[in-house]
Symmetry: C2
């Protein structure tokens, strides 16, 4: 076992931070570290919090983390920032927030960005959760900026997914249908003191009641709609209680294990895809790069399908020979 | 050469329709057909039209197609429908439209949906363009419903990309920044007779003037902003002229060939990825499926990285041996 892993398992936050940096940067050896850490995981509850920008996720997550601390639970927060130029404000916000929390290291804040591809960010998030879990954090919160498909893919790996909806967001409620509704285990209408909150709660409740969108999910759980005012702390207790209830429900129904299995399956498939792509890139490089193939296609000496078959055929033959 | 390919090259629309169906369904043999057709391509201009729902794409595309017909040019239109439950209306619209155009087969309309993955839809669109190009269509229009990342990926394969913006769509103009601005070669503010059109034109012009978003594109082309009223036909001539100008610019600057090369490169990479995934799926199946691996990870007997290395290692060894 590497010293770094040993230090992390011994509860050194500095080691945890270094491991997550290695994961984020894909530094040499990060795979071995995550491999070693995996056997020490399984103790944490993973909570995903998503919602459109401006829904008040940061504030609510801060309050939830504080509530857990009051219960003597340790907390890790990973704020995912897809590094779009349009989330500049939010990124800054997260960074400032990180600084403001350094006083209480049992709430370990970490902002991660998509340095590589967004697909890579999803894997990096999973690996960071592994690190926090192995470290021994009781509660791990994944907070995403934005609510696009990539954010959905990231946050759906959590045990419990909370979707924040700002009040009077008729359009947003419509948008929710397009993917978020199926993954939400609970909704919070945040800033519930603002106009339109009642209408949003009603819209959500109706949508859930009529089974609109969650139809393919027959897990027997009915997502509650909680009203919160993160700034004042109002509703935060109801929110954390709803998370507790969902986690208990997962355990009692045996769905937590199911979820974990399908999460591991997705993880294996994602890593397989990434490795296969790397192998092909190496194969392309060994054959002198892609340019000559592009030339062949451009001059109509070949075509994309023929070129690809030419590159893939040796792999296929290889594997078939191996299996005999 | 197969009969179907021969008939397509002989100008039989029925054969064209059957080939595109095969492409859409991934019917056995479609790869060979596309391979054969590739050498007959290169004569068509490919125009992508995208924009948020309700921007009036269908109507404008109809008028543009009619304008081309008036110039004795043949036209193929592929309307891409991501088959989201939320575009139900648009899909229906496209289908009705297809029917209404059967009288003039030189405007060949075809609506394609994402039966498989959206990634697959992008490949299918490229293949359908190959078929239309080999058939001899002078102008091929790819029209996408919606303006998400998937639609952007599909439409960016065109020589010229037109982005339609509805008037008074302050939010949409903001949204444009997130990916569409970089790929737009021209903008049309459609429904320019409605309130707010002037403001939208001004916003777009300012955004383009200050280089906001198109900064990484130093192709020397300044996207014009055209006002159109597709319903009445107003501005359609200016719109098609702008397309003509951009196509001429591409030819004169040598960028058309560059674009084609990078399109072929992207196509090869996409197909390689798809084939690699298939190989891995076969390898997983040959090893008795993914479940036992998931079990190992779940029981902490192994971990995702170790499992994946176990599956990928034989491929890597195989390829390295091959290269020696």
């Amino acid at each position: 076992m590497s010293d770094l892993v040993e230090e992390l398992l011994a509860g050194k936050h500095r080691a945890l931070a270094r491991v997550i940096s290695k994961i984020e940067d894909r530094s040499p050896g990060y795979r071995d570290i995550v491999s070693e850490l995996h056997r020490h995981t399984g103790g944490a509850d993973v909570i995903g919090v998503t919602g459109s920008p401006g829904a008040g996720k940061s504030t609510l997550v801060d309050k939830v983390a504080a509530a857990y601390r009051d219960r003597d639970l340790t907390v890790g927060v990973i704020a995912i920032d897809p590094s779009s130029p349009f989330t500049g404000g939010a990124v800054l916000g997260d960074r400032i927030r990180m600084g403001s929390n350094t006083g209480d290291m049992d709430v370990f804040f970490r902002s991660m960005s998509a340095r590589g591809s967004l697909g890579g960010l999803s894997t990096a998030t999973t690996d960071a959760v592994t690190a926090l879990d192995a470290f021994g954090k009781d509660k791990i919160i994944i907070e995403t900026v934005g609510a696009g498909q990539n954010e959905i893919d990231i946050v759906r790996t959590a045990d419990t997914v909370a979707v924040l909806v700002p009040p009077d967001s008729g359009d947003d409620v419509q948008m929710l249908k397009a993917g978020i509704l199926e993954i939400a285990d609970l909704f919070a209408v945040n800033k519930a003191d603002l106009d339109g909150a009642d209408r949003t709660v009603q819209q959500l409740t109706e949508m859930l009641h009529y089974g609109d969108g969650r139809s393919d999910s027959d897990d027997g759980w009915e997502p509650p709609v909680i009203e919160t005012v993160a700034n004042s702390g109002e509703g935060v207790e109801a929110f954390t209680s709803a998370i507790d209830e969902h986690l208990s429900y997962l355990d009692e129904s045996g769905q937590r294990d199911e979820k974990k299995r399908s999460r591991y399956e997705a993880e294996i498939r994602t890593l397989l895809r990434a490795d296969a792509n790397e192998l092909l890139a190496a194969e392309l490089a060994a054959r002198g790069g892609i340019d000559q193939f592009v030339d062949d296609v451009f001059t109509r000496g070949s075509d994309p399908y023929t070129v690809v078959e030419e590159i893939v055929a040796p792999l296929r033959t290889c594997l078939e020979r191996e299996r005999e």
